[in-house]
C-alpha cells in the first residue's frame, strides 16, 4: 500500500521532474546559449500560443472531451480579427473580435457535442473543416497584414499567461465548474445521478477553452504580423501532445490540472529549442522527440484507464 502510494505520488510529479531534467541537461550542454536571458525569453514566446490554448483545453479534457478544432478556430479568429482591424484601425477591436469568434465557435462545438450527442472527436473535426473552409474561401490565396502593430514582448505575455493560468487553476480546482467537469470526466453517469447538470458544465468548459483560443489568436496574429491560410495548422496535435506529456489523461477526471498544460507546453518547446542549440541535426530531432515522448507516456500514463481516447 505504501509502495502504491509512493508510485501514485511519483507519477504525478514525473512530468515536472522530466522538465527539470531536460532543462538541466540542455543547460549543461548548451551553456548560457540555452539558459541565457535571451533564449529563455524566446522559449516563453514560442510556447505562449500552445500553453494558452492548452490551459483552456484542459477544461474540455477535464470532462473527457477533446477538441481538434483549436487550430482552425485560431485561424478563423485571426482572419476575422485582422479584417475588423483593417476596417476600424483599432487594436481593441482586433482583440475583441478574436475572442468573440473563438468563443462563438467553441460554443457551437459544445452545443453540437452536448445537445446533439455527437462524439466530441467528430464534432470538433467538423468545426475544424468548417473553419478551415471559411478561411480558405474568404482569403483564397491572399494574406492580411498587420505589420504596423508591434508584437507585445514578454513583459506583456508573461503576466497574461500567469493571469490565465491562475484563473483557470482557480476555476478548475476551486469552483463548481471545475469540480463538476472533473466529476463528469471520472464518471458521467455518477455525476448525472448526483444531480450535476452535465450538459451545462460541459458547455461552460468549451466557452472557457474558446476564450483562451481567442487570446492566443490575438497574440499569435501580432507575433506573425500576417494572417494567411496556413496559420494554426497542426496546433491541435501540439496541444494534445503537450497536455498528455504534462500528465493529463485524455479520458478526463481528476488528472486534469493546469500543471499538465504548463509543463507539457514548456517541455515540447524546450526540447525543440534545446536540440537545435546543442547542434542536433534537424533530421534527428523528430526521432529523439518521439522517443522521449514515448518514455514520458510510459511512465506517466495511467494504464488502468480504459483507452487513450476520450468518450
Amino acid at each position: 500500500m505504501e509502495l502504491e502510494k509512493i508510485k501514485r505520488n511519483l507519477s504525478g510529479i514525473l512530468p515536472l521532474i522530466g522538465l527539470l531534467v531536460v532543462f538541466a541537461l540542455f543547460s549543461a550542454v548548451g551553456g548560457d546559449q540555452f539558459y541565457g536571458a535571451r533564449n529563455l525569453t524566446l522559449i516563453i514566446n514560442q510556447c505562449f500560443t500552445i500553453m494558452v490554448v492548452a490551459i483552456g483545453v484542459t477544461m474540455v479534457h477535464a470532462h473527457g472531451g477533446i477538441d481538434f478544432s483549436v487550430g482552425a478556430v485560431l485561424a478563423l479568429s485571426e482572419m476575422l480579427a485582422a479584417m475588423a482591424y483593417k476596417r476600424t484601425g483599432s487594436p481593441f477591436v482586433l482583440l475583441f473580435v478574436a475572442v468573440l469568434v473563438a468563443v462563438l465557435c467553441s460554443f457551437i462545438t459544445g452545443i453540437i457535442t452536448v445537445k446533439l450527442r455527437i462524439p466530441p472527436f467528430i464534432s470538433s473535426l467538423c468545426m475544424q473543416f468548417t473553419c478551415r473552409g471559411i478561411v480558405n474561401t474568404v482569403l483564397q490565396s491572399k494574406s492580411i497584414g498587420v505589420t504596423e502593430l508591434h508584437a507585445p514582448g514578454w513583459g506583456v505575455r508573461l503576466p497574461v499567461l500567469l493571469l490565465l493560468a491562475a484563473a483557470v487553476y482557480v476555476i478548475l480546482d476551486y469552483t463548481k465548474i471545475g469540480k463538476h467537469n472533473k466529476a463528469i470526466g471520472e464518471n458521467i453517469k455518477a455525476a448525472r445521478s448526483s444531480g450535476v447538470d452535465v450538459d451545462f458544465y460541459r458547455i461552460i468548459a468549451y466557452l472557457i477553452s474558446g476564450f483562451t483560443v481567442g487570446i492566443a489568436a490575438y497574440f499569435d496574429l501580432l507575433r506573425n504580423g500576417v494572417m494567411s491560410t496556413n496559420v494554426g495548422y497542426g496546433l491541435e496535435m501540439k496541444v494534445i501532445i503537450a497536455v498528455v506529456l504534462g500528465g493529463l489523461s485524455l479520458s478526463g477526471g481528476y488528472t486534469a490540472t493546469i500543471k499538465s498544460a504548463v509543463v507539457g507546453s514548456l517541455l515540447i518547446t524546450i526540447m525543440t529549442n534545446g536540440l537545435m542549440i546543442v547542434g542536433v541535426p534537424v533530421t534527428y530531432i523528430g526521432i529523439i522527440q518521439g522517443i522521449i515522448f514515448l518514455l514520458v507516456i510510459l511512465f506517466t500514463y495511467k494504464r488502468d484507464r480504459q483507452g487513450l481516447l476520450p468518450r
Binding site: 510529479i13 525569453t41 516563453i44 514560442q46 478561411v135 480558405n136 500576417v226 496556413n230 525543440t272 537545435m276
Partner: protein, 380 residues
C-alpha cells in the same frame, strides 16, 4: 505534502527562469552587420600575392520546408558543396507555417548562426528580418517571391537583408499548360494542395488557369486536397478521360502508380514541380511531360549573396538596396534530361569554380550585373 513539494518545485523552476531572464542588465544592442565595402575594394583583401586567399568560414542556417527527399537532397548537395569550399558549416531547419518559420529562425539565431538562407519563409519575411536584426544575423531567401509579401518595401531596406533569388511560378505554369494545349490536351485537371498553403503553389495555379482561359477552354476539375493520394484516385475515377493534369507539386508519390496501372501511358500529359521521387519512372512510362527544376540553383546563388554579405562585401543594386534576382526554371521533358539534371546536381548544379568569381574576397571585380546575367541564363 506532495502538493507542497510540487508547488515548491514549480516555484523554483519559475524563479529560475525569471531570474535567468532578468539576469542581463540591459537589452543587448543589435550587433551591427559587417561593414559593407564596394565590390571593387573588398574588406581585408591582402596585398596581391601568390598565396591563395583563405576564405573565412561561417555558421549558416539553411531552412527548407522539408528535410528529406530527392528535391531536398539536390538543394542540400549544392549548398553543402559551397559551404565546404568556403569553410562554412550548415545547420538545417524546417518550417512550413508562419509559426514554424518564426520559431525555426529564432532557434537558428539562438544557436549562433551568422546567416540564414531561407527557402521557406512562410509569408512572414518581415518578422523573420526583425528577429535576424535582433540577433545580428544576415538573411537571404530563395525559392520565395518576397516582392509579393507583406511589408516588402520596409524589410528590403533592412541592412540585415542581403537579397533573394526566385523564379516566376506564374509564368512557368502558364508556359507548361500552353505547351500541353499545343500538344493536344483538351481536358486539363488541376492537382495539388488547397489554396493558401504557399504563395508559390497559388501562383502556379494562377498561371495555369490563365493559360487555359487564354486558350478559350475551361478546367476539367480541381483536385486540391491535403490527402493527395485520395484526391488523385478520385480524380481518375471521376474523370477517366482526363488527358492532362497540371500538378503544382510533386506528382511521383500520388499520380504515377494509378496512372500507370490505369494504362494511361502515352495518353496523358502531367507536370510536376520540386519532385523528390523517381521522375524517371514517370517519363519512361509516358506519364510525365514536364518536370520543373531549378530550386537548387536558386539556393546556390542565394548562398553566394549571403556569403559575400557575411564577409562584408554585400552585392548591392545601384540604389544601394539588396537585389531580388529573378531566375528562370528549367523544364525537363524526358528521362534522359531528368537523369542528366540529377547527375549534374550532385555536388551542386553550379560548381564552385563557376561561382567563385562572384565571391568578392576571391575576385575584387565581382559584379552583381554579371551575377544577375548568370542567374538569368540558367537552363539556357
Amino acid at each position: 505534502m506532495k502538493g507542497k513539494f510540487i508547488a515548491l518545485l514549480s516555484l523554483v523552476l519559475i524563479l529560475a527562469m525569471v531570474l535567468g531572464a532578468c539576469s542581463s542588465g540591459s537589452t543587448p544592442q543589435s550587433p551591427t552587420p559587417p561593414a559593407n565595402t564596394p565590390a571593387g575594394t573588398p574588406a581585408g583583401t591582402p596585398e596581391p600575392s601568390e598565396e591563395p586567399v583563405k576564405l573565412p568560414g561561417f555558421k549558416i542556417g539553411l531552412m527548407v520546408y522539408t528535410n528529406s527527399g530527392g528535391w531536398f537532397d539536390r538543394i542540400y548537395d549544392g549548398v553543402k558543396a559551397l559551404a565546404d569550399a568556403t569553410g562554412s558549416t550548415l545547420v538545417l531547419a524546417s518550417g512550413a507555417t508562419p509559426d514554424e518559420a518564426i520559431a525555426a529562425v529564432e532557434n537558428l539565431c539562438a544557436s549562433g548562426v551568422d546567416g540564414i538562407l531561407d527557402l521557406a519563409t512562410g509569408g512572414v519575411s518581415h518578422r523573420l528580418l526583425q528577429i535576424c536584426e535582433e540577433y545580428g544575423v544576415l538573411f537571404a531567401a530563395a525559392n520565395n517571391n518576397l516582392l509579393q509579401e507583406e511589408g516588402y518595401e520596409t524589410f528590403r531596406k533592412n541592412e540585415y537583408y542581403v537579397g533573394s533569388v526566385y523564379a516566376d511560378d506564374k509564368q512557368i505554369s502558364y508556359d507548361i499548360v500552353s505547351d500541353m494545349i499545343k500538344n493536344g490536351a483538351k481536358k486539363i485537371a488541376m492537382f495539388g494542395l488547397p489554396p493558401g498553403i504557399s504563395a508559390a503553389f497559388d501562383n502556379r495555379f494562377a498561371g495555369a488557369y490563365k493559360a487555359i482561359e487564354d486558350a478559350g477552354m475551361s478546367v476539367l476539375t480541381e483536385a486540391r486536397s491535403f490527402v493527395m493520394p485520395e484526391a488523385a484516385q478520385n480524380l481518375l475515377t471521376q474523370y477517366p478521360d482526363v488527358d492532362a493534369i497540371f500538378s503544382a507539386v510533386d506528382a511521383s508519390n500520388y499520380l504515377y502508380q494509378p496512372l500507370i496501372s490505369g494504362g494511361y501511358g502515352g495518353k496523358i500529359q502531367i507536370s510536376c514541380f520540386d519532385d523528390g521521387g523517381d521522375v524517371n519512372v514517370g517519363f519512361e512510362n509516358g506519364i510525365v511531360s514536364h518536370c520543373v527544376e531549378g530550386v537548387n540553383a536558386q539556393a546556390q546563388l542565394g548562398y553566394i549573396l549571403l556569403y559575400n554579405a557575411l564577409t562584408g562585401n554585400k552585392l548591392l543594386m545601384s540604389d544601394g538596396l539588396a537585389p531580388d534576382i529573378l531566375i528562370p526554371y528549367v523544364i525537363l521533358h524526358s528521362a534522359n534530361e531528368f537523369k542528366d539534371y540529377v547527375d549534374r546536381s550532385k555536388g551542386g548544379i553550379y560548381s564552385f569554380d563557376e561561382l567563385k568569381e562572384f565571391i568578392v574576397l576571391l575576385n575584387k571585380d565581382a559584379s552583381l550585373n554579371k551575377f544577375i546575367e548568370l542567374a538569368q541564363s540558367f537552363g539556357k
